[in-house]
């Protein structure tokens, strides 16, 4: 994640406490020499104020560091949680597949039995019974899709690392989405860093991430809004890709959970809720990081950091 801290916080004044101490000393000296109580009071107050402000700043710094630490902890917990959930869902999917296989098979047997045993029976009820059994089979198919999805989510699809021009990969996916955003009156702005060095990563995995982020941005953005797609070289190493929208934003209470499997704010049937958790999983496997900044009503910005070589570090 790109850190934007530092310039936003109040500027630190390292000389402030020394001024305070100096003033206090000066005041005491002046008071001793002149014997004036007034001097003493004024200068002591001034000095104390300087010391107070400096202490306040120090405490603020401390608080910021503590908050950053908490954020980092949250991210670590997040990835552990995802790994555990992945294993759990794979286990469940496997367990469900067996009874599912039996249900499917029994439905087929019943269809066969209905066909042969009720050969002489009335057509109406028989057709109804057969249709009903076919529906059971169809629903088994549907469950099968779900368990396959769960397994593919959990499965650590070993990435295959190939040299990739990030700008081109991103642009390909932008074009795929652009035809639909144009129809909705949403503009896509490109801010690609020219001359970005090629990275070694898993192309289809990364495409999936980019496409999912673009699609989320598209769904969050109203007519007349814009989506900005950015690539940049990161000073400490690696590259970054950002998808920023002017959409509805994500409420603070959801921010911590948006990478969880099955967490969704979309209506039932509109999203499976696997999008962002899949992105998180893929980016982790590529040795990168994904993060989000968001403000309700103003929009969200997802940032994906990737190493140039898998396994090579970058800014922490």
């Amino acid at each position: 994640m790109g850190r934007k801290g530092g310039k936003e916080g109040s500027r630190r004044l390292p000389w402030l406490p020394w001024v305070g101490v100096g003033l206090v000393a000066l005041g005491s000296l002046g008071a001793l020499l002149t014997g004036s109580q007034l001097w003493l009071v004024v200068i002591l107050v001034l000095g104390a104020a300087c010391c107070g402000v400096a202490t306040g700043q120090l405490l603020a710094e401390l608080g910021k560091a503590r908050r950053e630490r908490a954020l980092l902890d949250a991210r670590v917990v997040q990835s552990h949680k995802l790994a555990a959930l992945g294993e759990l869902s794979a286990g469940i999917a496997h367990e469900i597949n067996n009874p599912l296989a039996i249900i499917g098979r029994e439905a087929e047997l019943m269809e066969h039995l209905v066909g042969s045993a009720l050969a002489g029976a009335q057509d109406g009820p028989r057709a109804e019974l057969q249709e009903s059994l076919r529906e059971v089979s169809r629903q088994v198919e549907r469950c099968k899709e779900i368990t396959r999805n769960l397994l593919s989510f959990a499965r650590k699809m070993e990435p295959v690392f190939q040299k990739v021009d990030l700008n081109r990969l991103v642009e390909d996916m932008v074009r795929l989405v652009e035809r639909e955003t144009q129809g909705k009156g949403i503009q896509i702005l490109r801010e690609y860093h020219q001359g970005l060095e090629p990275i070694r990563t898993d192309p289809p995995g990364l495409r999936q991430v980019v496409l999912n982020l673009l699609n989320n941005a598209r769904q969050a953005t109203e007519q007349g809004g814009t989506i900005t797609v950015r690539t940049k070289a990161v000073l400490g190493g690696g590259v970054e890709m950002e998808v920023q929208d002017t959409g509805c934003g994500i409420p603070r209470e959801h921010l911590a959970r948006i990478f969880d499997p099955f967490f969704t704010t979309k209506a039932h049937g509109k999203g499976t809720g696997l999008g962002l958790s899949i992105c998180h999983g893929i980016v982790s496997r590529l040795g990168g990081r994904i993060g989000v900044r968001s403000q309700v009503g103003k929009g969200s910005c997802f940032t994906v950091w990737l190493p140039v070589e898998p396994g090579s570090g970058g800014n922490a």
């Binding site: 496997h94 067996n98 098979r105 087929e108 047997l109 089979s137 397994l151």
Partner: protein, 131 residues
């Protein structure tokens, strides 16, 4: 298959009900079916009776389907083995092919899929022997 003698299929799965119903439906489709509820039972059955194709579940308690596959191919290289698996992982597919498995099927599968794969495995066995 338009053959005078029926194709002999051995079904191996630890789910008894799946075993009996699938066996019955394969019978309806003209196969001669034997069943085994575990890998050791399957190996024993293969000693007793001749089979053309074995349909083997990968996940079984005790001796796993993969181990059973290796053992069956060692003892009876002429028998075609189809694996039933919960999901298609590249690793598992490679392992199955390496051990001489004919193919694999994703579980749950319909009878149509199963019959298609059994027939494809038989064809494969025949061309192999012809070559």
């Amino acid at each position: 298959m338009k053959e005078t003698s029926k194709t002999r299929v051995l079904l191996v799965d630890d789910e008894e009900r799946f075993l009996s119903t699938t066996g019955r439906l394969l019978g309806v489709r003209g196969f001669q079916v034997g069943t085994a509820a575990s890998a050791p039972e399957a190996l024993e059955e293969l000693e007793q009776n001749p089979y053309d194709v074995v349909v083997l579940d990968i996940r079984m308690p005790g001796m796993s389907g993969i181990e059973a596959l290796a053992e069956i191919k060692r003892r009876r290289p002429d028998v075609e083995v189809l694996m039933l698996t919960g999901h298609a992982s590249v690793d598992a597919a490679v392992e199955i092919m390496r051990l001489g498995g004919a193919d694999y099927l994703l579980k749950p599968c319909s009878m149509d899929e199963l019959v298609d794969k059994i027939q494809a495995a038989l064809e494969r066995g025949k061309t192999k022997k012809g070559a």
